[in-house]
Amino acid sequence: MAPIVRMSGISKQFLGVTVLKDVDLDLHGGEVHALVGENGAGKSTLMKVLAGAHRPDTGSIVLNGQEVSFASPRDAQRAGIAIVHQELTLLPDRSVAENVHLGREPVRRGQVDRRRMEADTADLLDRLGEHGIAPRTQVRRLPVAQQQVVEIVKALSMDARVIAMDEPTAALADHEVELLYDLVDRLRSSGIAVLYVSHRMREVFDLSQRITVLKDGTLVTSTRTNQITQDQVVRAMVGRPLDTMFPDRAKTRGTVRLAVRGGGNSRLHDISLELSAGEIVGLAGLQGAGRSAVARALCGVDPLTTGEFEVDGQPVRVRSPRAAIRHGIAHVTEDRKGEGLALRQSVHDNTMLVRNAAFGRRRIDVERLLRSVRLVSRGTDQEVRYLSGGNQQKVVLAKWLAVNPKVLVADEPTRGIDVGAKKTVYELLRELADSGVAILMISSELPELIGMSDRILVMHDGRLAGELPAGSSEEAVMSLATGGQA
């Protein structure tokens, strides 16, 4: 069967830097094609070429047998190519139907024909089997997963034959991912070609029929999904197998650095935990079980209102981030860009951010610190927004290392960063633990959490449901997380 889209020999340079080199990509109707690669491998650029946002320097795009050249994303949209971006582009205060028809409202007697708009939207929602969304609902009131559905409906309403999804699960809770799987499946079976860009191996293997791996702008391999293993894909992306990703576990466990007994607030109940020097403690649980709430409580963002709190055996009061930091508790937040970095400031200033803000201390060897986190940048003057996600995360770690913390709470420290950077983050966390820091690590990727942790605390419904030893199975964790017994 001929592909709907055939991209061949696509090359693209930006300011003399080659971002894509002679890349071929076929998208077939009724097929999910996964595009994987580290950050900076050229995935988004290839997607933007397909969507008409970038013009390729060389190469051609053939759509339904006709060579096309898109001058703008609007051109591509008209030709039936739609992109669902990582950040949603909906207007939160408008209804679902209004968003779907934005800029293309049906008109009757000079007025917007609401009835038709809503009927059309309802039809499309039915086609996707999404009966739970009413066309009149304000988008703001929908959970993120359903907002994504609205984006897809919007694409379908423009008669899209090709839908490209950029990290669609990045913003989703675990149970919402299931819904997305169903949705992608239905799109595929209705004959649409889906391009699926993701970092998460499991999704890629669950969903796709074909996988293309990019590395440094070139195509490494493109094959049917059932003819390749997860390990082979990772090796193609970075050149190393998966099982060597995690560093060795702790050799010894030192003194207790942080202890909470009977801690609680509006989200948490009866939390008791101890974090010791040298160990990495994993914190597992379903989305909404209170993992981040524990992180935010320990770090003074949403403080504990009851219970005892000790650092190095001394009772402390942690009522603000400042208080937590001054007691030696560091907080790598989940939202790197929104909460972790001042994006328009330099690497240097971000590295000094906590030191400057919380202590007002000067003089530190920033260069050495950045070398120790293996930062790759064009210099300490570079603005952090120009760094890749992985390097941004290294700056976040450096900013905490600059204040020599006793305890480090890392909430999803590898979210949205590429495999190579993940490995570095793992190594850095282990080095930090070895140097005597107590680490609490939160991750919704269980293989990572199990691979890293010296022991695992599992949360359920705002409480600690139990503790598991290193190397426990995913099943054991999930059992506790869903309210069962260990």
Binding site: R322, T333, Q345, G360, V376
Partner: protein, 327 residues
């Protein structure tokens, strides 16, 4: 991607690239002045320009702190007027009152800034509105107090700072006091922006959540910016009062002029970007431009039109530049 390992030697950001355009424009204007007027063929001419520009440059430094932390201070013009009128009335020609009145002026400036800052950060009123309100309050208060015509007089020693200088300096002849005051403030401002507090203030304008989570006291920092702006207005009032004398119009329009100057310096409205040196250079550039227009015989009434064009063009330039820079 061709990236290299971190290897830059510099510990501090060097002269920010956004500073270069304003310095280039300034250089062109300064050369043009020499061709346009004979006064500018000697150092004294430029020194006079600097003396004239000093109050605006000092205000620009104060305004920079507020803008870079993400706010606006529209109250500085009225504050300058209020300070001068109050000083004239309290001193009323009495030499011995000079020093304590000057100190009081600084106190008033700091207090007005504190009020602006406290309302902005604690009551969460946008600074644009708070300082607009303060502008109106001060305007009304001055009018009420003076009945339209200010009373009293400044002492001679008060006016010395704005008018006189250190005589007998080689090459330039007289070094105006206002230039000395300006130099001291510039040095202090640059040192402040290199300090941990200064760096954090800049980060507040970029991402206040990150600063708060990093242990910074965001409200205090923003309030500090308003206090510094208020202090800069007090110093500007001391210079302007000495230079131009007492009137109820001395500070008219200064708030817009100073914002134009700061924006011309490439400081981005909304915060997080720009250097204090550039803000100050923006003020000198604006003042040079007006001097040049004056020499070329362009009507004085056109000044505000020019200012309007500049503020729109500078912001547009920054915005367009940005879009292109996005990766």
């Amino acid at each position: 991607m061709t990236q290299t390992e971190t290897q830059s030697q510099s510990r501090r950001p060097k002269l920010a690239s956004s500073t270069i355009p304003v310095l280039a424009v300034l250089a062109v204007l300064l050369v043009a002045l020499a061709f346009a007027g004979s006064a500018y063929q000697e150092p004294a001419g430029y020194l006079a320009l600097l003396k004239r520009a000093a109050p605006l440059m000092i205000l620009a430094i104060g305004q920079y702190f507020v803008i870079v932390s993400g706010g606006f201070d529209l109250s500085v013009g009225s504050l300058v007027t209020a300070e001068v009128v109050i000083a004239a009335r309290l001193i009323d020609g009495d030499e011995s009152a000079t020093l304590w009145v000057m100190l009081l002026m600084l106190g008033i400036g700091a207090f007005v800034g504190l009020v602006n800052g406290a309302i902005t950060t604690r009551l969460l009123v946008p600074s644009f509105i708070v300082t607009l309100g303060m502008l109106l309050v001060l305007d009304g208060a001055v009018f009420l107090w003076t009945g339209g015509a200010p009373r009293g007089a400044l002492s001679d020693s008060f006016r010395t700072v704005g008018r006189q200088g250190i005589d007998g300096v080689p090459v330039i002849g007289q070094l105006p006091w206002s230039v000395v005051v300006l130099a001291v403030i510039v040095v202090l401002a640059v040192l402040f922006m290199r300090s941990p507090t200064g760096r954090t203030l800049l980060a507040v304008g970029d991402n206040e959540t990150a600063v708060w989570l990093g242990g910074g006291r965001v409200e205090r920092l923003r309030t500090l910016a308003f206090v510094l702006s208020g202090l800069s207005a007090a110093v500007a009032a001391i210079l302007l009062g000495g230079f131009a004398g007492v009137s109820a119009q001395v500070g008219d329009g200064l708030e817009f002029r100073v914002i134009t100057a700061v924006v011309l310096g490439g400081v981005v409205l909304g915060g997080g970007r720009g250097s204090v040196v550039a803000a100050m250079a923006g003020a000198l550039t604006l003042e040079s431009l007006f001097s040049l227009l004056n020499l070329l015989g362009v009507a004085g009434g056109l000044e505000s039109t020019v200012q309007g064009v500049i503020i729109i063009a500078a912001v547009a330039y920054a915005a367009v530049n940005w879009r292109r820079k996005k990766p």
